[in-house]
């Protein structure tokens, strides 16, 4: 079995020596040092905030758990200074294959075009991702990461939150303006605010095994319905770094979890799949999937992000990736609110936007799980018909649902200014920006996502050259494509992906989402859109 990859010591902090009635005061406390809490802390620190990050354990979690990190997550991690390390270690993939019985039904490519810095996905054990994020934190003096600090009580006041924190040396208290609860699906902070976590529990059980072996399978996502080695159920195979392979087998509803989890009982199942038993187990886990969410992600000054706020089944890689999207959505807003540059009501847009995303992720992963584990004989019959039709029809293939993989959600958002002009394509307001190759100087290659993040991400005006290009308002970065002083768009991909004509401009939010776009921007129209996206009106 895999051991914890990194162990950290508890260290006493001067905050613990403060007298009881006079606890230390902080701006932000993030609870939970998983991928979401770590990323959020880094983002806030890079924006100049001081962050206290608490975790009740003293080590990075065991097991590879989340393994698929999306293009969007990698672009976010680029902004946090860890993208290269993740991609260098991870295995890159974009192709998936769906099999039924012995034969392939179809294959798909999640990124069938060139000109993007990052691939559709990498697979990387969660413990590596967390270790790299913890390393990055040690470069940032603004983050105070405290292991074995467990929040045991929470009291909300008008202007602050009081946390009681248990440590190996006893309890202490902190005052903070905001608490971000990234403490996972079994969030104790969620219980402390008395919030429900409603949704659906799937009765089917799934066995997840990570095995170490040398194998010649390509770096692709393989999914089987009713494979010969696991009759009547589904199976999934994914490659991870270090010759580790993720195998996911659907078990019956009445399978005995204690029996099924024993390595000696898992081994023959995996051996049947692989045709040999030359492998070692890294991790074995047995799940019943759940799809549920909190009604509100904001509870006074306690804000929920990641699995604490919403939980999905793993088919579609929508868990960790959506948590990272929560982090990037929240951090710039919270930073603005803490600086007094936007009213606290801007945080409500975090709830609005990420609720839409949570609903979409829950809908997609529920559909996938229902397709894999039909609930009634008639559902099973419809699925059988789809799988059969897929053998000779395109529409049947498109209906086969072996997991719909995570893509950034589009927000119907109060921060977006609706299109006033005619557009044939390009990202609408409320959609994530698209990458494209752009030349910084002749012969030098860069990507739009790199240009966007350079020098820290704030609002940016992406404009496509004409002679009298409009200037960005104060504090908004100018990114100009084409023209004499702009970035080269030699393949024309930037203009194409943004449906740009000379003079077109996009106002991008600090999280890389489109706030507004203009065919003929004016200072006034940009200022109005900016003000709206900042939550100022």
């Amino acid at each position: 079995m895999a051991q914890a990859k990194t162990q950290f010591g508890y260290r006493r902090h001067p905050d613990q020596d403060r007298p009881g009635p006079n606890p230390a005061e902080h701006a932000v406390v993030v609870v939970g040092a998983g991928p979401v809490g770590l990323s959020l802390a880094i983002d806030l620190a890079q924006r100049g905030q001081r962050v206290v990050l608490l975790d009740d354990a003293d080590r990075i979690g065991e097991g590879s758990r989340a393994i698929c990190f999306s293009k969007r997550s990698l672009e976010y991690w680029d902004r946090l200074g860890v993208g290269d390390r993740m991609v260098d270690k991870g295995v890159v993939w974009s192709v998936g294959r769906i099999f039924h019985g012995e034969s392939q039904l179809y294959q798909f490519n999640l990124l069938p075009e060139d000109g993007h810095k990052r691939p559709a996905f990498i697979n990387l054990q969660q413990y590596y991702a967390e270790a790299y994020l913890v390393d990055r934190i040690s470069d940032l003096p603004g983050i105070d990461l405290r292991w074995r600090n467990k929040v045991t009580a929470l009291e909300q006041r008008n202007d602050s939150v009081v946390l009681t924190i248990e440590t190996p040396e006893g309890a202490y208290r902190l005052h903070t303006q905001y608490v971000i609860a990234c403490d996972g699906a079994r969030s104790s902070l969620r219980q402390m605010v008395g919030a429900e976590f409603a949704g659906q529990v799937f009765e089917d059980q799934f066995l997840i095994a990570d095995v170490k072996m040398t194998a010649e399978f390509p770096t692709e996502r393989w999914f089987w319905f009713d494979p010969p080695f696991h009759a009547g159920r589904s199976a999934l195979l994914h490659r991870q770094p270090d010759d580790v392979w993720r195998i996911d087998l659907q078990l019956s509803r009445d399978a005995d979890p204690v029996f099924e989890k024993k390595p000696e009982n898992v081994r023959p199942r995996i051996a049947r799949m692989l045709g040999h038993d030359k492998f070692e187990f890294e991790w074995i886990s047995l799940y019943k999937f759940q799809c549920r969410r909190m009604d509100r992600f904001l509870h006074g000054r306690v804000i929920f992000a990641g699995d604490s706020a919403h939980q999905v089944s793993p088919f579609g890689a929508r868990g960790a990736n959506s948590g990272l999207e929560d982090a990037e959505n929240l951090s710039w807003k919270l930073d603005r609110v803490l600086r007094g540059r936007s009213p606290a009501s801007l945080l409500e847009s975090y709830h609005v936007e990420r609720s839409l995303a949570a609903d979409e992720n829950i809908r997609e992963s529920t559909r996938s799980t229902d397709f894999m584990a039909p609930n009634t004989p008639q559902e099973a019959r419809l699925r059988k018909a789809v799988l059969s039709l897929a053998k000779e029809t395109e529409f049947g293939k498109r209906m086969v649902n072996g997991g719909r993989l995570s893509v950034p959600c589009s927000y119907d958002s109060p921060l977006s200014s609706p299109d006033a002009d005619a557009w044939r394509g390009g990202p609408r307001p409320g959609c994530s920006m698209l990458d494209a190759p752009v030349g910084e100087r002749a012969g030098e290659h860069a990507y739009l996502t790199d240009v966007f993040r350079k020098g820290g991400t704030d609002f940016a005006l992406l404009s496509f050259s004409n002679r009298a290009a409009v200037e960005a308002p104060d504090g908004v970065k100018n990114i100009r494509i084409g023209g004499e002083d702009g970035l080269a768009d030699s393949a024309g991909l930037a203009a194409k992906r943004y449906d740009a004509e000379p003079g077109s401009a996009y106002l991008l939010r600090p999280d890389g989402y489109v706030a507004a776009r203009f065919r003929h921007p004016t200072g006034a129209s940009i200022a109005a859109a900016l003000s709206r996206a900042e939550g100022l009106n």
């Binding site: 008639q378 019959r381 018909a385 789809v386 059969s388 039709l389």
Partner: protein
């Protein structure tokens, strides 16, 4: 385009007959399998989610109405 419930076949009896004959000789389970495939093929051919939803509403309403009538009798 809304769901069309006017008669669209020049010879409606031929259409009904074609479906009836397709079920001849099938067990109930086979008939159900066959219907599932046929529904999916026709739904895709229509290719309009609003029309499909209207058709689902109509079929459900008829089913419920008929059940209630049977209970009253």
């Amino acid at each position: 385009m809304p769901l069309s419930t006017s008669s669209n076949f020049a010879r409606p009896d031929d259409a009904f007959r074609a479906i009836v004959e397709a079920h001849r000789g099938l067990s109930d389970a086979e008939s159900a399998d066959f219907d599932a495939a046929l529904v999916l093929i026709l739904a895709n051919h229509i290719g309009d989610i609003d029309v499909l939803r209207e058709a689902i509403v109509l079929a459900r309403r008829r089913m419920i109405d008929d059940q209630q009538q049977q209970q009253q009798q």
